[in-house]
Symmetry: D2
Subunit: 315 residues, 4 copies
């Protein structure tokens, strides 16, 4: 399979490959950008023997706060006239950022319960196209989770082949009701976009740099922040945790110490975001990181201005 | 009984008096100040026939954010050489603001579960001096809650005379463990004082006035804020609730529309306070109230500075 | 007021009377029977000066498992052409045993959250007739709970005059949904009747006597059981609690040691009842009480036979 | 690997084998008996080339209620002087039936959270001997769960390589406290043994047959019950579920319709067991299965008799 290198979580396929005898080719990428449609098209065109069986992409890199433009990647595969399956990891985007499995022509979508679905970890989801189902029939690679036949056969009568996490299924029913009925998916996506924009304004207010470079690829569920040179992000994270009980995401693998991440997804509202940004602003100061104290102010200005509309956003 | 008029909740005794055939005399007071020791001493000296049976005070007026100085009031009663019982309502101060029933010579302390004890409403507590117990033996006023004999008799064997709220008693055990063992009462009180000071700095940063006039009487559990003349506090509260899902306390009875209240008690930390203050600052702006956007900044400066100590406060 | 003496809870009015300066006259009664319509009619006819202001009855005596026949008591009051208000305590019957405030011509119904409504204690309910509301306007007795004006005035806008037990109100909403929508009140009542009948068959299977004498007055929510002479009910209760973690009700006041009570109300099903009855049968044996080991068998025979209908009862 | 065929769950290794390219040889067995030490010794002796890498056994077959005698199986492997690893599935025995990984010389023990540990499903546990760890270093089979290196490396600092089920870890801490401190493991095991014996007496009281043939192999956590010839177990299970909301285990694969299973493990006490057995006895009658109505009585006799000791078992 061809894996677009976009960050730490994409690179985890390397480990999976080692463990499961899977052959993975990484398409080199800039971690500050999403997967590159042109590079993918070019690589697929070069694969005249059609040895690549799948193109894999992480929709929203949790390690960087960069999204990939899925519809454009689909177009790239089509333009190359390549039969590879298109597989997308939506762990940290599903139910937080707009995503369309069918409409965007994805073959396998993978998701989890513990981010936008607001549940504890313990459920994962596969959405599978007819083409992927067909491919699995001839596949010879050892597999367990991706052996869908049993799940599909049992699911027809509402059962699971093994012990199901019943309590999480009740939680899922409630979460879906909150997302689809009480707030509405469009409002959920708009809320996340708004909080992401407020966070970016705070980052710039501090005089820092948002990790993602292309505005089309800004994540709505988390924001990566580059540390000023010479300052260790993990030391600042530790100060913030100890002073304000606020746990920020660390920079992973090659980004270790160079950036931190602010999450703003799930059951989250304006004032929880302001508490978060205040904790970062105060904590960076306590850690001796040279930042301007204008981030919280900038975020508040944006939130208030964008709230000065008639409609009340979901609480 | 002599009731020191310090705010709405003190005035509720009027209703209780009507219902329960209790004779109440109100000692006039300025709602922006706590009960006045000199006035109480003077009134008691004037009561040569000792007709006043009790002096009642609200320790922390929830309607105003003003505390009364209980030890000084005790001294005033003693100075007047008057036998009246001293009764104190600690509903919104117990476990948030330092309070000492025995040391301060209080006869009856009344408290509830739903504030500093972090529980749902449903439990109330009476702490009773030997003098008060003695007085109840000869009292002829009809009473139910204050008929302590049954509770005391049953309590000796760990029972209640009627159906107890068992679930709240389990909650209480946990709350006491959090307060006394995990955080420690001194740290709890210091945390509330710190949040109150940060709130007052925010109020002044907005160019508004803290309702309480005497710094010795500032409440650590809530802060009353005066609105600028010509602006309706309840309209602003409504805007804030709708825009940010933040519910502020209203001005009660004669303060209606003239002030609002910011609560900062119980299971509360720095970033919850910053979320709250950000909601007020943004919301006052949305409501068209002419405030300076310097309150959040002032609160952050104070919180960060006072956190720049080695020790980590409880999370 | 005239209070029909039917058991311990009726007698508690004596305490209330002492505390609240209420004048109570008890109409003597046999605790193994409900309130006697003829005796009430006779007493009211004798009250030519109409000094009795209310007739009070406990619908389901929790201390004995005996119900009073409310519609017949109403007829007795009417027959006596007496203007006394009719007040009924439904603490342990509401939502377990059929009860009709309006249809049965009751003036004040009192209920609580902690029995048939399946909630923790903390809410109580008053249902008030226009006549009772009118009477309260001229009443001079000191009162607090029964001072309904404030509650009614605030309730119009959905508020409470004081701190409400919000969490219990959410619980109540859910409980009402379970009772009215999911199971249906008729099914709830039938379930309780069925469990009560199974319990009585168990009692007779043990060779013991049901406390209630008149089948029209059997309680559907609990069953009182007479101990054989010479055996202490409380000792047996202690053995059962220690051996099987099953807590039975004690005999109250004059019934102390002479009877015990088996509760079967609220969120309760056939197998919970069978567990309960098995605990009693085993425990009485362990305590050396001479009972036949035929109670559980008799209850199972009845439950199975009455279940051998097509319809599935609520789980 | 050599898998001792003891029931449905042992046979699931066939599926795993298909999926993961694992070579599994089943040692034929009688499902009504545990794994046979002699047969294992014989098979291992025949493996002169030491091609068998592991001997796998299910400690407590959840599908039958039969346990295997682990210490005797270890002796059999030792007697054969064979280097195969010894792997044991304790899913439905851990924390319900005595089990000793080190003392019994097991190399890999597998367990889950959802049975004796009284938690929702979502955690699994591997206990690994130094020999197993060594073997994994050279193993070339693709694997994910059994790739322990990352878990061990991360675990040293208290972390997980991937998103942990934090809420279940809190639950585990509480469950362990209940098992080890509050009740004590010995009392837990004794409680399960006692409930199993009571259940077997009920089965015989009904005139039915316990599925397990060898008393040394009776399961303490569930009991399999053979249906009389000509009666469908699944039809009876359906009647019992609908009449009494009691869900019994079904017969799996080749036992379908021929038996049912009564679980008695985890957070379970005497009266819950009696409710369960009463449901089975009543339900078998309703389903027209010809059973004697003497099972509940026999179980009660045993429970009462074995409780007639001074010590109170855990509630």
């Amino acid at each position: 399979v061809l894996m677009a290198e976009t960050g730490h979580f994409a690179m985890l396929w390397q480990k999976m490959a080692e463990k499961l005898a899977l052959e993975v080719e990484f398409l080199p990428g800039d971690w500050r950008r999403g997967a590159d449609p042109d590079a993918i098209e070019k690589r697929l065109r070069a694969d005249s023997e059609k040895r690549l069986k799948a193109v894999c992409v992480v929709h929203n890199e949790t390690s960087t706060g960069v999204t990939s433009r899925i519809p454009e990647l689909r177009k790239a595969i089509d333009a190359a006239k390549h039969p590879a399956l298109f597989m997308v990891d939506t762990i940290s985007s599903l139910a937080s950022i707009d995503y369309r499995h069918d409409e965007w022509g994805v073959d396998v979508t993978v998701a989890g319960s513990q981010k936008g679905l607001m549940l504890p970890p313990g459920l994962s989801f596969n959405c599978i196209s007819p083409g992927a189902l067909q491919a699995t029939k001839n596949a010879r690679l050892p597999r367990s989770y991706w052996a869908w036949d049993e799940m599909i056969a049992n699911g027809k009568s509402g059962y699971f082949p093994y012990t199901p996490a019943t309590n999480l299924l009740y939680g899922l029913r409630e979460a879906l009701k909150m997302l689809l009925e009480e707030e509405g998916l469009d409002a959920v996506f708009a809320r996340h976009q708004r909080h992401a924009e407020a966070t970016r304004r705070a980052v710039r207010g501090w005089g820092l740099e948002v990790f993602a470079l292309d505005p089309r690829e800004y994540s709505a569920s988390l924001t990566g922040v580059l540390m000023p040179a010479g300052h260790d992000a993990d030391r600042a994270r530790k100060v913030i945790l100890e002073a304000f009980d606020l746990s920020l995401g660390t920079g992973l693998t090659k980004l270790g110490g160079k950036m931190f991440r602010i999450g703003h997804l799930g059951d989250f509202n304006d004032l929880m975001l302001m508490g978060t940004l205040a904790g970062v602003e105060m904590g960076l100061g306590l850690a001796g990181v040279p930042v301007k104290k204008e981030g919280v102010q900038a975020a508040m200005a944006y939130l208030a201005e964008s709230r000065a509309q008639p409609k009340r956003a979901a609480a």
